[in-house]
């Protein structure tokens, strides 16, 4: 599964994209796996309410199941316009 990071999430984690092997059932489970890995992930995911998630390029939420998902992206609230 590809995981992408944008804006300050990317900066805290230190990379824009990585591929992980995971059995996580939901986005929250995946976040828990990442946080357990290294401090930089813990720092990026410290306040989940400050983050957004997209599954296969569609906005989703942290309760969503990951079955069949190929690309997960984490980022702060958008500031376009």
């Amino acid at each position: 599964m590809d995981i992408m990071y944008f804006a300050w999430v990317r900066e805290r984690i230190g990379l824009p994209k990585e591929t992980v092997e995971t059995q996580a059932a939901t986005v929250s489970d995946l976040v828990a796996e990442l946080v357990a890995r290294e401090d930089r992930y813990a720092a990026a995911f410290a306040d989940i309410t400050a983050l957004r998630v997209a599954l296969d390029q569609e906005l989703s939420d942290f309760d969503a199941p990951l079955a069949g998902v190929r690309e997960v992206a984490f980022f702060p609230p958008m500031t376009g316009g």
């Binding site: 944008f6 804006a7 500031t79 376009g80 316009g81």
Partner: protein
């Protein structure tokens, strides 16, 4: 519907004119142009990051939603990414309709959704350093107007 996500500068006036030229039976054109605002102390630059695989799709979905809600002859959305400078245009929305109320409502709606639902993130560099622009609670609340 025309959606362009681009790094290059664009000319808002030329875009308005070419958009209007294609609308012979339409009376009302509304545009919104977002400019890089110069800040106290001087803005050295703005960096706009985006999510290439998602950006155009997200904008097209928002524009299609606007076309379902209002009677529109056409919609244009241009949004830049990359390095921008003070007073540069960041993005532009244009709506064409027979009815001015539809053109206004649709442009207003598009801006609210592009602001909070299109995957762009702004980082400003000033004399004090670089920082990510924070989303405003106002922007999220603005979406409630349309539900």
């Amino acid at each position: 519907m025309i959606v362009r996500v681009q790094e290059n500068l664009f000319d808002a006036g030329a875009e308005l004119n070419s958009f209007a030229k294609n609308q012979p039976t339409v009376g009302a054109i509304v545009t919104f142009t977002g400019l890089v605002r110069d800040v106290a102390g001087g803005l050295q630059g703005m960096e706009i990051e985006h999510y290439p695989g998602m950006t155009a799709k997200a904008i097209e979905a928002i524009a299609a939603d606007a076309q379902n809600r209002w009677s529109l002859a056409d919609v244009l959305v241009i949004h830049r990414y990359g390095t921008l400078h003070a007073t540069d245009p960041i993005m532009m929305v244009a709506t064409a309709s027979k009815h001015r109320a539809d053109a206004f409502a649709a442009a207003d709606f598009l801006m609210d959704y592009l602001k909070s639902r299109a995957p762009f993130w702004k980082k400003e560099t000033t004399g004090d350093g670089a920082s990510w622009v924070a989303a405003k609670d106002d922007d999220e609340e603005a979406l409630n107007r349309w539900s």
